[in-house]
């Protein structure tokens, strides 16, 4: 929830920036928060990044920046955040899920900070709060708008009936959920149809990149599987999604077959899953994979930077696949030059999933139709 600061809300942005540069510590603190929290416009976020470069790291820490992890336990209930079980700097717990949530959010913070200079979910040091042991037999993890929430899988069933392990066991799932928070504070992609599938895809992209970053793997060595290790041995599958080969992650008598398409010709029109956000994300996922392989090397460095810049600076909450293609191409040109290897790699990535850079941007009508079906509106910024 955003808390507006009533006094500073009426001060124009240029004045806030002056206060943030030259005011007392308390005034700077208020000004920096107001620039992001009360405005939330793209121009202001850009201004904040410029401003942040002027503010010493020590003062950022003083206003709440830096890695601040807290892990809670729901104790198999539903109350969030639950009981605090580990805070920043505390020794490891005897509970493996607690440590996985703590370490996983830390590594995710590190990638965003080291590779893109981002200070946590909101870029001003938002605390990384995680709740483990959510409900009994809960086969899921989610981002509730303020924190990460993880279930323990099928721990309440006999071993021969279990399909899912605990969701903290997979670093890429932790990074996936945390990235939903980053998206919420940046493009805020509406969680329906193509914009929703992009929202999902950005979470898979940075989920996979965090795993590669932890392992020190180059793009060609990575498995590009999301949720490796989530399934028990009772499942015929390697994970919940494959960015390398969407549609091939699992094929199981109980779970069915991975339904993800890898190309626009196989795009799935459905009203389930908020318009197939976890299904059609296979298309932008594969575009990123091809781009990263084409560029080569460590995928979080160049391909990841292009996607991050697009998410942070270029997309809006109703953006669709075509717009994502156009904007990643634009971002690659700005970062590495027009006609550069990197920009051509982006073009190839989208081409391989059936999207031509500069093509017409349809899909708004489709989004609006689904919004009407759900009786929802896209939140403005």
């Amino acid at each position: 929830m955003h808390h507006h600061l009533p006094v500073l809300c009426i001060i124009p942005p240029h004045m806030l920036q002056e206060i943030a540069r030259n005011g007392s510590q308390a005034q700077r603190d208020m000004a920096i928060r107001t620039i992001l929290i009360s405005g939330q416009t793209r121009g202001q976020r850009r201004a904040f990044r410029e401003l942040k470069g002027l503010v010493a790291a020590s003062s950022m820490a003083a206003v709440g920046g830096g890695k601040q992890r807290t892990v809670y336990s729901a104790q198999q209930g539903t109350q969030l955040p639950g009981v605090k079980v580990r805070g920043e700097g505390d020794p490891a717990s005897s509970d493996v899920a607690v440590n996985e949530a703590y370490d996983g959010s830390g590594i995710t913070y590190d990638l965003y900070f080291d590779a893109y200079g981002r200070d946590s979910i909101d870029n001003i040091g938002m605390p990384l709060n995680s709740t483990v042991h959510y409900q009994k037999g809960y086969d899921n993890a989610f981002w509730d708008g303020q924190q990460m929430v993880y279930g323990d899988g099928d721990e309440d069933l006999p071993p021969d009936q279990r399909l899912f392990n605990r969701f903290t066991a997979c670093l890429d799932i932790i990074a996936h959920e945390l990235t939903h928070g980053v998206t919420q504070h940046e493009a805020n992609l509406a969680y329906l149809t193509q914009s929703g599938a992009l929202n999902e895809s950005f979470s898979d992209v940075f989920g996979s990149l965090v795993k590669q970053y932890q392992r020190g793997q180059a793009a060609a060595q990575a498995d590009w599987i999301i949720g490796e290790g989530l399934f028990t041995p009772n499942v015929n599958g390697v994970g919940i999604r494959s960015m390398k080969a969407p549609g091939t992650a699992y094929d199981d008598p109980v779970l069915g077959k991975d339904p993800q398409p890898a190309h626009m010709k196989d795009y799935v029109n459905t009203i389930e899953d908020n318009g197939g956000v976890h299904i059609n994300s296979g298309i932008p996922n594969h575009a990123f994979y091809v781009t990263a392989l084409e560029i080569g090397g460590l995928a979080w460095e160049k391909a990841g930077r292009i996607w991050y810049k697009t998410l942070a600076d270029k997309l809006q909450n109703t953006s669709n696949f075509q717009e994502a293609a156009n904007k990643t191409f634009e971002a690659a040109g700005e970062l590495y030059g027009t006609g550069s290897l990197e920009q051509l790699a982006v073009q190839k990535g989208w081409s391989e999933v059936g999207i031509t850079i500069g093509g017409s941007s349809g899909g708004e009508g489709c989004l609006n139709t689904v919004l009407r079906v759900f009786g929802l509106q896209v939140r403005g910024r």
């Binding site: 989610f142 996936h176 008598p253 069915g256």
Partner: protein
Amino acid sequence: MLIRFEQTGGIMGRKVSLDLNISDLPANEAEPLRQALDETNFFALPENMVTQLVPDELQYIITVETENVIHSVRASDTTATPALRALIQNLSKKARSRRTKKE
């Protein structure tokens, strides 16, 4: 009394469904389910309790049919009432423990 339970969304985006006739269940399953249903005051619940779309959250549609009435409720983990959550957990466990063929 017939109950249809549908679960969609979640990080896998997978649909899970379960159809039950309470009268077909053994007493040790039927009674807790009846009690969980009664505690929700099910037929007074609104049809849609999902007010915003939360990334990766599970959504549920529960439909209960009696001789005289049929009523569906759509809810999610963060919007369900405590009593409805208890009913969802009861039905979810039944759905998970009966996963013996393609859903």
